[in-house]
Symmetry: D2
Subunit: 147 residues, 4 copies
């Protein structure tokens, strides 16, 4: 029931001509959070095979509020919404948490990832050690399709 | 029943360390196609207010095949799947069409856009002239959520 | 004494929060022009080994005027300012040419490139066929270091 | 005689198809370091007008070693090499410092910046408070043009 917390650094150039973080750049933030979760943290837990290869099959994202660059990072929370035989779906929230505990959510999103066997050149099944790692982050929500 | 056809130029740097066009860059291709459709072409049709302001509310994208950089552009077809009171949903296909007419689809996607009144600082309704323009591109498909 | 002419497509997102094409993005335009020159055009001339590997050793760029996104491409002219034993220096101008022949130059730049033997993992010398190709674009100018 | 030290976060997508941080992305790292130096730190010192507007007039950069993405940031050191009447030149090193104090330098660069009066739409002179701030970082080196 844990969530992976990533303090995502922003760049000034993430803003577009409207002076907001561009909608496409949010996908870059999700990528950085996902890499921190599935590569770095999974590797620490002995489930490092994702780093050897995985493919994005699908993204969904709902934009909730505009985000402006500042020196401080923005938080990306990542968790698991579904573990299939040969795919895993993660949910995300991009947000700030205020001192009083209230949150300002900038975007909610989800990604379907497919583990990939680079040597064999084809998708592969989720391994037992990956399933064990991912199960610690599993929440039974459907995010954000129902929004 | 028409589709808007955009020949999207690729950049060598659109590829990531795996040697494929990165999944996030596909969203950039969609943005370029959408701007060509809703700004340039709509303005030619007298519906130029979109350029004055619009906000992306939601994206969905399904990746179907890997895409590698080459000098020739890739085709992005854009059409309209829903015209609401204060939003419009567009569908896209990123693809190549072979000489024999067969197609190789790299991605299917959709975006919900909300027209925005920048002066008033709030969303606004679709105007009559925008609705007239958009209706020429309306297809009654649900793309790609059902995939 | 010829120059290589590249019609460089712009993207809306090339603009930053100041509403101009960001200074870093100019380097991306130079990269695209260089690839079109040294990979595509050199390969057509039988000097295709650059595409097999080359490394940027140095850039210089002077910004002359602000550039704003529009649907039409911007011109990048590329030529050769020096052919060394194991490096080549190219000069560029990023500009528009008006109907009356006058020019608006946005930036002048130069790049030192080193051919690289990827298999051997080290720089290599310019080949005879490369030298022949490059010599057609050689101008005895020092651009823009003297500025 | 101080240098401004910026721990520059890297993104996985900063790598290109050759598996190295792309040469253009180094310019992005310099931009982030410059913003941290001239906007954030200068503002803390009461010299916040740079943030109100400044223009890049020139870049030079020499690439010294390839850089590969890793979770840890890369260091960008920034200092001042020249304070003119209406411009300031900064030098940079992008590098890692090993535990034994030895350094691996990936790039050396310099940028000429011109303060800009956005309201008046023209360059302006360096103010006394800016000169005072910048003088703490002044080194009498010519970097990297002499390389």
């Amino acid at each position: 029931m844990a969530r992976h917390i990533y303090a995502c650094p922003m760049r000034w150039s993430d803003m577009d001509a409207f002076g907001h973080v561009n909608n496409v750049v949010f996908m870059r933030y999700l990528e950085e959070a996902r890499i921190d979760f599935m590569f770095t943290r999974a590797a620490e837990a002995g489930a490092g095979e994702f780093a050897g290869g995985s493919v994005v099959a699908r993204h969904e994202i709902d934009y909730k509020a505009p985000l402006v660059h500042r020196p401080a990072p923005v938080t990306v929370e990542t968790w698991v919404t579904r573990i299939g035989g040969a795919s895993v779906t993660v949910g995300y929230e991009v947000k700030d948490t205020n001192e009083d505990g209230t949150e300002l959510v900038y975007a909610r999103a989800s990604t379907v990832m497919v583990p990939y066997d680079l040597a064999a050149g084809r998708p592969r099944r989720i391994s037992a050690v990956e399933r064990e790692f991912l199960s610690h982050f599993l929440e039974n929500e459907d995010v954000p399709a129902a929004a």
